[in-house]
Symmetry: C2
Subunit: 199 residues, 2 copies
């Protein structure tokens, strides 16, 4: 609602213009579909305004996001819009269940360390931390470190975090939180995923 | 969950391969953010598998979706992936409130008539009917006509419908329904929309 009137104007001494430029931390959580998909949709707008974009996939299967990655590669090379950098933190994780093995935890921690370096360097304007809630949920990454890092980030650096089980601390720190609720899913009817729809 | 095991296998005489190819009707509804954004994210995957895509915007402001439209134009011209056709059914609608004036109803009806013609001709493989729930909700388009048309569509034509107030008949007919719930929004804190985030 870009042209809407907010229900209250904060007494923060900022102009509307300054508030428009403030950093946004968005969290897409819940058990339904569309959490990551909406984050990539947001990245389209970021691309359009010319921002450098970074995607950090805290992923589980090399099959996932191939369509999104190909699309953003094509956009990044199109000569217009912002640049796109795509990071994969680990491959072959399970989705909801905590995978065994210390290497997953180390991959996630390393991925987060990279995000921290990039935030400190103000390297990008728009970050997708895809499925980042899981390594936090599994205790591999300290949520207080995440919140402190995000709260103290400089410049104009918008961050979108996706995944189930978003920690209350993360939700408290976020500006925009959407819960994607599952109402109905084809798998309930015994269908399996489809190319072009699920990946 | 493309590689997941569905909780039950339907007794419909179809193979998994056939079920994988069946049409999907998805509905993104609820009061939260991400309904349209996730639909455009899905369209990235459809683009990647080379499907012809059509976006029908049942819109309210020319400002909206400019980022998405520019991105899909760039993708459509990239020489890889599927083609993208972008239709705008009307401009300057109010978002949630029913706008006055008969022309809006006529615009919406005309847009729906075009969708019907395209479905009948099997012109596209992936349709985004953006904010299509509103003209149904306002009584401009008959939900039974929508459901009958979608149920009888031929070929492989996936359809995603977005917007608040999705009619129960539409939800009943859908394969995939996600409710985007608002947990927290920057406007609650008095912020206004930001370029790159909201449009």
């Amino acid at each position: 609602m870009p042209q809407g009137k907010p229900p209250q104007v904060p007494d923060d001494g900022l102009t509307t213009r300054q508030r428009r430029r403030s950093n946004v931390l968005a969290v897409h959580t819940g058990t339904g579909k569309g959490k990551s998909t909406a984050a990539f949709g947001m990245a389209l707008r970021a691309w359009h305004v010319g921002w450098p974009i970074a995607v950090f996939q805290f992923v589980k299967s090399p099959k996932w996001r191939v369509g999104e990655e190909a699309a953003f590669q094509a956009l990044g090379c199109s000569g217009v819009g912002g640049s796109v950098t795509w990071h994969k933190m680990g491959e072959g994780w399970s989705w909801i269940k905590k995978p065994a093995g210390e290497d997953h935890a180390a991959n996630a921690a390393e991925g987060w360390a990279q995000v921290k370096r990039d935030l400190l360097a103000e390297r990008y304007a728009f970050y997708v931390l895809d499925e980042f809630t899981y390594p936090i949920h599994w205790g591999w990454i300290d949520v207080h470190d995440v919140v402190d890092t995000l709260k103290s980030r400089g410049g104009t650096q918008h961050v979108v975090i996706t995944g189930r089980y978003a920690a209350p601390e993360l939700i408290a720190a976020a500006d925009l939180v959407t819960e994607m609720g599952k109402v109905k899913h084809p798998m309930d009817e015994g269908r399996k995923g489809q190319a072009g729809i699920e990946w």
